[in-house]
Symmetry: C2
Subunit: 341 residues, 2 copies
Amino acid sequence: MKVTINDVASQAGVSIKTVSRVMNNEPSVRKDTYDKVMAAITALQYQPNAAARNLASNRSFSIGYIYDNPNAYYVIDMQRGLLDACRKHGYELLIHPTNAKSPDIVQEVIDLVQQSRLAGLVLTPPFSEMPHIAEALEKIGVHFVRIISGSTPSPKLSNCVLVDDFTAAFKITNHLLELGHTDIAFLCGDEEHSSSGERLAGYQAALTKRGITPNPKFIVPGSYSFESGVKGAKQLMNLSKKPSAIFACNDEIAAGALFSARLMNIAIPQQLAIAGFENSPFSRQTWPPLTTAHQPNVTIAQQAAELLFRHAKPNASKMLSDKQPVFIPELLVRESTAVSE
Amino acid sequence: MKVTINDVASQAGVSIKTVSRVMNNEPSVRKDTYDKVMAAITALQYQPNAAARNLASNRSFSIGYIYDNPNAYYVIDMQRGLLDACRKHGYELLIHPTNAKSPDIVQEVIDLVQQSRLAGLVLTPPFSEMPHIAEALEKIGVHFVRIISGSTPSPKLSNCVLVDDFTAAFKITNHLLELGHTDIAFLCGDEEHSSSGERLAGYQAALTKRGITPNPKFIVPGSYSFESGVKGAKQLMNLSKKPSAIFACNDEIAAGALFSARLMNIAIPQQLAIAGFENSPFSRQTWPPLTTAHQPNVTIAQQAAELLFRHAKPNASKMLSDKQPVFIPELLVRESTAVSE
DNA sequence: ATAGAAATGACAGCGCTGGTCATCTGTTAG
DNA sequence: CTAACAGATGACCAGCGCTGTCATTTCTAT
């Protein structure tokens, strides 16, 4: 029933210490010994006892995922990807929803890490963009990986997975431009999230490249919420000079804008084109469905966890492909920006 | 830095055995001794080493949550509630997304439990409704709690948290009746989910009570998905005798129906009233917002976990309030069923 | 053949629980 | 007031399954 390391050792004809070495990928195990042990492990279906490992080595085989994101789809996808990687590496995932705006957030994270002796941590926005958290984690020497907005890998960002919001936003804006729109407005997300800034920058760059100076009135501050989209669109459509297209910083804002347009009897896309960002499931379920940019969150999460394991696992092969992954969300054209002819 | 049980013992002036007794809620510890120990624990901020406890006692202090639900909001809420209860009781939560339709699902669950030596398991639909899983879990003697559709507590369901879908569906249907509708259609969810059956029964009961015989053509089989709602509504609105209201088994289906109505240029709620179920965030973000029934998922999850701990913790006070919680989702009227005058 | 490196093993111990008694404290009846 | 007993506590030990340390053996290259 319960297979211990002793069983494996006698099966393989080696000492339990050697089995332990194999389990932990320690160097200096001869190839044939390694194979013998692996064969025994497979034959007996040996599964190391996590508790014993933790106790003896005073570390844990779990990584943490801290989140504070109203977007359930995003969180579920991240979890899924992280969990996939964890299963592959025999780790567990500790999830920790919390409030990013709490004044003791740094201490809370530190406590979590020390409490559970976490092997590492995956941070998504807004945590990945909070300098004190990164500093504190570095100080206590915990490995962590951040998923952040950015396009250019650099040594300083060696523990980051980059999502190139700039380029994706550029593409979406370009799509609107190609449709013939010139008066394109932008509904911002939360200022604290750098993704909002990056997307804005991509939008501006696309306009500028076409020789269009972004109209400041067309750039509306806001937050990543439906309500913000409702409000922002209303504000825009009350301008004397209205935009003919709105690029919302995410799908939720876009859905809010759609809602607002509906209230004002504005036909989408005939009178107003609307684009979102993220490709969350409901971007397909609005009427009309939203043009958006697809972020492969599950894959992003997997990569983040893999990167973490490369650093966090003591004897992993650090050398291989230590390059930083950069993801560029892909343009997805749907009816909310169809050509109006 | 690291506080061990020894520190607590000397601080409290007792033996480590007594501290252990307190930690494990063993009987025969005098009140004042207990208080002394608790004071020391608080003063030193002692946190028992989970790994050591697990190893020595050969059990774990974590419970599992298995899910396979496309509805991210539901999962997130459940997680939140379970996690709240876990934190309170010093347990951890192991999440395990999987495929309920997998042929080896029972074995997978068993493996998970034995692998991680789980203290207990929380099952939501569809797992909570799979008899083989319950049987298998009982066989290996693991505590588990099921969240299921039902209205009447009974000893056989002693480890269940009930959600009274029947009554809630009755109320929604009644609301539509009071609005003057008599031709009310019902879009079913997945047959395997008993919630769909319960909601259908509530719908039928409400009609029958008004002396209306449910029209079989108005009851459309389907699944808990947007697409199903699109298809179902289309089918209904192509009938020679069309319904004037649609009650969808959940918000997603309702959103699909809304989408379909839009395609067919049917005004909501003037030409067709639509109601959903669940109060997921996007039910507020459709146009018009959906009338629905609110399910307090976070609270439901908390209760489920509490119930589990009452059974799973060896020396917990089993006596207190062992009655089964029953939740009745609450009617939430929004514009999708406004009076059309 | 022999130094030096590489591979392997022996053994203690991680922090806690469970068990077994021995001891101590408090309570109650006589 | 004391005996007799039950309840509460402590002392002690083994051991959960693994890893860290260091000693020992085996290989490799000169």
